[in-house]
Amino acid sequence: MSEPVVVDRVTKRFAGHTAVNALSLSVPSGIIYGLLGPNGAGKTTTLRMIMDIYEPDDGSVRLFGQVGGGRTHSARIGYLPEERGLYPRMRVIDVLVFLAEAKGVSRRAARIKALEWLERLGLIDWRLRKVSDLSKGMQQKVQFISTILHDPELVILDEPFSGLDPVNSQVLRDTVVDYRRRGKTVLFSTHIMEHAEQLCDRLCIIARGKKLIDGTLAEVKRTHGGQHLIVAFDGSQGGAQRIFSDRRLVAKIQDFGQQAELELANGADPQEILRGLVESGARLARFELASPSLHKIFVDLVGPEAATAAAIPATTAAGVGAGA
């Protein structure tokens, strides 16, 4: 079976800057694929090009091994944009049926599926109410139903977890995992590494419109970062700081206060650190050799400023669709 998504050297320039620069990626069938990057890296622009919302200036997008992007294949794709919205004055059932029809699904089939999903997510009693009467969490569910109502083979989610309440976040996670189990493909973008680490089979990290690395989670971890050590304290840290700053033992450290992630220096023996910590009077809750977290790899790759850019509120795009 051909790969559901193949992006071939696409470039998109907006007034003044290049949002995506000769980016290639391919998403194999039946997996969860994460597109990772700091804000402004070009994730949304890439997904929008896949969905035919933007036309690439260079390069091409192929879906399901055929020419044409998301619009041509809209009945086979579920797309959830980052900025979500519904018609506030329409009835819930009507919105769902309309959005499915716009994708090319027949009216009758759309109606049956919509009712099924409303029943499953506990919104069946709200089907004739206006969207604006629903709580924010319920609206998120409706939005989510509209994405997957037509049982698409490929689901594309742009920052799907942003703004979700914990309940809906879990519903989404379950559905994504369930989708993969049923042999469908999920492509999603995020700047939150924890989500990616939990869900992704494969991933691609991009920054400033360029690909930095891609591959399976294990491959990425193997190629990046040496031996890692996670140390958590139980109260007293003793002389830990002195040992952590010994460059013969520790190459890099991310100190979270009660917990620290260390990258060992070349040839350093973790047992020596353990001995040193115990002798210095530190009380340990955890001492674990581990592969580096995705977060760590991400920070190393894109640089600390870019990684923390997640905390900066997204600025509204000015100029011709300068959104990331």
Partner: protein, 418 residues
């Protein structure tokens, strides 16, 4: 095509479901019914004016005026001899609504032609009726003073002249009075203006809604922007057409019920028979519908572009002004058009696509337009629609995905060229 249908249906169903659609659908017939009832009530004597004739003449002139007024069913006149306090007390009666007004006449009338009428309400109809009656009496009195036999005068005045009006237009003639033709053209122009503006703005707010709620992104990933715009315009157009149908059918229904309505109000059937819709030839109706459709397409494409380039209601209100002004040009020209439909000014308006949707039906109705000119006007409108829709679609395509500040003129030009 299935996708475009979905957009059209959504646009139509959601609009027709709104309260405002039904309010305006009902308001039309209520207004029209009101006009019918008003006319029947008029015939019942609701329109009779109570008038006093303050007579300071010495020749029995006042009595003759009172007599002449009595022959007109619109007046009930009483003669009052002039006195020191008469005007004051009559003024009080007028203020107390016991009298509609009073006419003051003196001997000077037959020399200078001047009299005075004081009333709480000076309607054109009343004043004309009074002037006609006075004129008749004065002419008679003046002829008598020159020795003409009063019977001869009566005989001479006892004939009413009527002009049989026939309109020569487009190689044929139609029985139609000047008033009817004018009124029809005028009503059409107002209807066209209102409908194009109202439903054009509807398209704009619908575009804006999709943009501000961000639902546009999902839509554009399934439909081409042009398909979406087309569906929207067609849907809103269908709603306005439906509105016209409701008004048309209810007007016909009310007309066919005018006799029972008259009976219910206690008037006789003849009072109602006089009320009729002006005769609208099929060709006129076709021209009206064609230019409404054309004007609607032209302006709603512009309104769609305005909606797409704005990011909130306030911005849209500002950005729509140039478009509204463009439509206003023809609105303010209606009087000029109806007064002289064959002037160069009128000809120009009917060839320019932005004004022809209103100007051409008006000139056609007034009968001052040949088939050739009509064809030219329609062709220009079609060219205008294609050109404007092309430009609007390009602005729409980029604009719907934009947030932030409104684009400058320079940026708009770049969008269109891109």
């Amino acid at each position: 095509m299935h996708k475009v249908w979905a957009v059209i249906r959504r646009e139509f169903v959601e609009r027709v479901r709104t309260r405002w659609f039904w309010i305006s659908a009902i308001l039309g017939p209520i207004l029209f019914g009101g006009v019918i009832v008003y006319q029947i009530m008029q015939s019942l004597g609701g329109g009779v004016r109570d008038i006093a004739v303050v007579d300071s003449t010495t020749t029995g002139f006042g009595a003759r005026v009172t007599e002449a007024l009595a022959t007109n069913p619109s007046f009930r006149a009483t003669r009052v001899t002039a006195g020191p306090r008469v005007v004051d007390s009559l003024t009080r009666l007028v203020e107390a609504k016991q009298l509609n007004g009073f006419l003051i006449i003196s001997d000077a009338l037959s020399e200078t032609g001047k009299a005075e009428y004081r009333a709480s309400n000076l309607s054109l109809q009343t004043v004309e009726g009074l002037e006609r009656a006075l004129n008749k009496v004065v002419v008679k009195v003046r002829l008598e003073t020159k020795g003409v036999n009063p019977d001869v005068v009566d005989w001479a005045q006892g004939m009413k002249i009527t002009l049989d009006q026939t309109k020569i237009a487009r190689g044929g003639t139609t029985k139609e009075s000047a008033g009817e033709s004018f009124a029809l053209a005028y009503v059409m122009a107002i209807l066209l203006f209102m409908a194009i503006l109202l439903y054009g703005v509807n398209v704009m707010s619908s575009v804006l809604e999709e943009k501000t709620t961000r639902i546009i992104e999902v839509l554009v990933s399934s439909l081409r922007p042009f398909e979406l715009m087309l569906g929207k315009v067609a849907g809103a157009g269908a709603v306005s057409f439906f509105q016209f149908v409701i008004w048309g059918v209810s007007a016909r229904l009310l007309i066919s019920l005018r006799v029972p309505i008259a009976r219910a109000l206690g008037a006789d059937a003849s009072a109602a028979q006089g009320i009729k819709l002006p005769h609208i030839p099929f060709a006129t109706l076709a021209v009206f519908m064609a230019f409404f459709l054309g004007g609607f397409l032209l302006y709603s494409a512009m309104f769609a572009a305005v909606g797409a380039m704005s990011s909130n209601e306030q911005e849209a209100r500002q950005a729509q002004q140039p478009v509204t002004y463009l439509l206003m040009i023809s609105y303010f020209s209606i009087i000029g058009l109806t007064n002289d439909p064959s002037s160069t000014f009128a000809r120009t308006l009917s060839i320019v696509p932005f004004t022809s949707p209103i100007a051409t039906p008006v000139r056609w109705t007034a009968g001052s337009m040949g088939v050739g000119e009509l064809g030219a006007s329609l062709a220009m409108l079609l060219i205008g629609i294609v050109a404007i829709t092309w430009i609007a679609a390009r602005i729409y395509r980029v604009g719907i995905l934009m947030t932030g500040k409104r684009p400058t003129m320079k940026e708009l030009v770049r969008w269109v060229r891109a």
